[in-house]
């Protein structure tokens, strides 16, 4: 199995708490036990939890920053051009009172104000947005965690930095953030295949629909895993059939699975057959991705 062309698989869901991390970590555990070289990137930068499921050693950590302006008031003429250029309302100016302030929390680091200033009054400094941590696990496998600083305007930059850290030379599993907004897009944009994890409830179906539509727009291939199967109703399955979306796997609802997951355990400890089921899932993804015989 180790000679498949490396691909990037994003594990995503519209609704939070459907079991993305459950799927991502168990798939990764199966890779580890079969010596498939892979990285798991925890892209859920607002609530990264994947590392709770592994024994790890911190290998390195680096800060992700953006530039924010510093205004030298001795050079500033209060002309207001920087304020006009700023599309994020991050520069507050009162020319009559000679007041100018940068609201760092609103700044996106685009550099427009620096370009706007003709008086050399604006320089830039780095402001932390979050961190990327690289943890080594057994063998050559790595867990990479993108972690947004509390209250940062967007986790997108830390997510991108985490995915970049994983590189292209091996299998990459990405545990995506919930929703279909920018952080989700930043994650799945880099994926070859997207696994959407949902649950058979009205909320699960409504959010799944939105994710499927978004991925269609991006022309990303996807498949579905139904978690907590047995709860809820049948509408989800009718939707999958109608839209010809492949059902990759079902994970039943039971208290043992919930408890194992709650403690950071793996499904194969509960029932060894889960390892093969996750490897079979991987095989299906490889087939669907159309490179099953594309050996290196």
């Amino acid at each position: 199995m180790t000679d498949y062309k490396p691909i990037k698989i994003a594990i995503a869901s519209g609704k939070g708490g459907t079991g993305k991390t459950l799927v991502a970590t168990n798939l990764f555990h199966s890779f580890i036990s079969k010596d498939i070289q892979a990285s798991l990137v925890d892209c859920d930068a607002e609530a990264p939890n994947a590392k709770l499921f592994f024994e790890w050693k911190l290998e390195k950590t680096f800060e992700v920053t953006q530039q924010v302006p510093i205004i030298d008031e001795s050079l500033c003429t209060y002309c207001g051009k920087c304020h006009d250029y700023c599309h994020y309302s991050a520069i507050f100016i009162l020319p009559s009172a000679k007041v100018i302030k940068v609201i760092e929390d609103l700044c996106h680091g685009c550099g427009a104000c620096t370009v706007a200033c003709k008086f050399g009054a604006i320089t830039e400094k780095a402001m932390p947005l979050g961190e990327v941590m690289r943890y080594s696990l057994s063998g050559k496998n790595a867990l990479i965690e993108s972690r947004m600083k509390t209250g940062a305007y967007s986790p997108a930059a830390v997510i991108k930095a985490g995915i970049k850290e994983a590189g292209n030379g091996q299998m990459v599993i990405m545990d995506a953030p919930p929703g279909t907004s920018c952080p989700f897009i930043q994650t799945v944009d880099r994926a070859d295949f997207v696994v959407l994890v949902t649950e058979p409830t009205p909320f699960g179906l409504s959010d799944l629909r939105q994710s499927v539509e978004t991925l269609k727009g991006m022309k990303k291939p996807c498949g579905i895993i139904v978690n907590r199967a047995g709860l809820g109703n049948h509408s989800l399955y009718e939707y999958l059939e109608k839209e010809h979306i492949s059902l990759l796997m079902e994970i039943p609802f039971n208290r043992d699975i919930a408890r194992t997951y709650a403690h950071g355990g793996k499904l194969k400890d509960l029932d060894p057959s889960w390892e093969d089921r996750f490897l079979a899932l991987f095989e299906i993804i490889i087939l669907k991705n159309g490179n099953s015989h594309n050996k290196r």
């Binding site: 599309h87 427009a112 997108a156 919930p178 907004s181 403690h263």
Partner: protein, 288 residues
Amino acid sequence: MEIAIISGKGGTGKSSISAAFATLSEKVVLADCDVDAANLFILFDPVHEEEESFVGGEKAVIDRDLCTNCGLCIPYCAFDAISFSSEGVIISETACDGCHLCKRICPHQAIRMIENKESRLYAGSFRNGRMVYGRLAPGEENSGKLVNQVREKARKLSKASGLETIIIDGPPGIGCPVISSITGVDQVVIVTEPSLSGLYDLQRAAEISGSFGILTRVIINKYDLDEDLSQQIEAWCKENQLDIAGRIPFDPAVVEAMVNCKSITEWAPESETAKVLSTAYKLIKHAS
């Protein structure tokens, strides 16, 4: 009075609990601020009375007829969204942050901005009051702004209708939309569940509401799925002086209620879940 229900971790039961609070007794204004995955409208089938469009981000696009492929814009882009390709200079729609800088510096006026107007805000009535919710278009960034717009609308409806209680169903996570959802509220309720992830995300969410100095209470949902972890959560809350407003057992009726488009308190008012939520709501309402 504004009460925000948040969770850090998704899927802990935030929306089901918000729905219960919104249908327990008095009429309320319900604000679904999980604009990325709004769900409460499914349960409440509100009558839309107002619809507003929300201009989220903008995206830069190149006019091929005017672009000379000089590449001047490329180094200016802080988001690495512009590159050379076989078709010439291109801007990645997903990477573009909409800052306008490339448009401003292009000597050939070959770049223009297009607004994304797909996001919507809806306001109307539901069976126990008024309701506002936002729906963010895919890929949109400014969900904090849409949350603010939803909350502003909710306050207006509250004033106009005399319904004093606003229940805010917040988004998961700890980012900008969460902060927008809890700024200035009277009370925050964090919903957690007994898992290591639940505890860990509770800690991050509590850190945020604590930093705003907002009275914060915790509800442990599905507490009996793992009583050891529930005890760990309780111990952590005690240590950090967070009041537990309720312990809800795992109850398949919560999903049954959802399937039948009802809140759990409407569907099974005599269930333990409904009783715990009713007590919790009284506590939240009267001890702020």
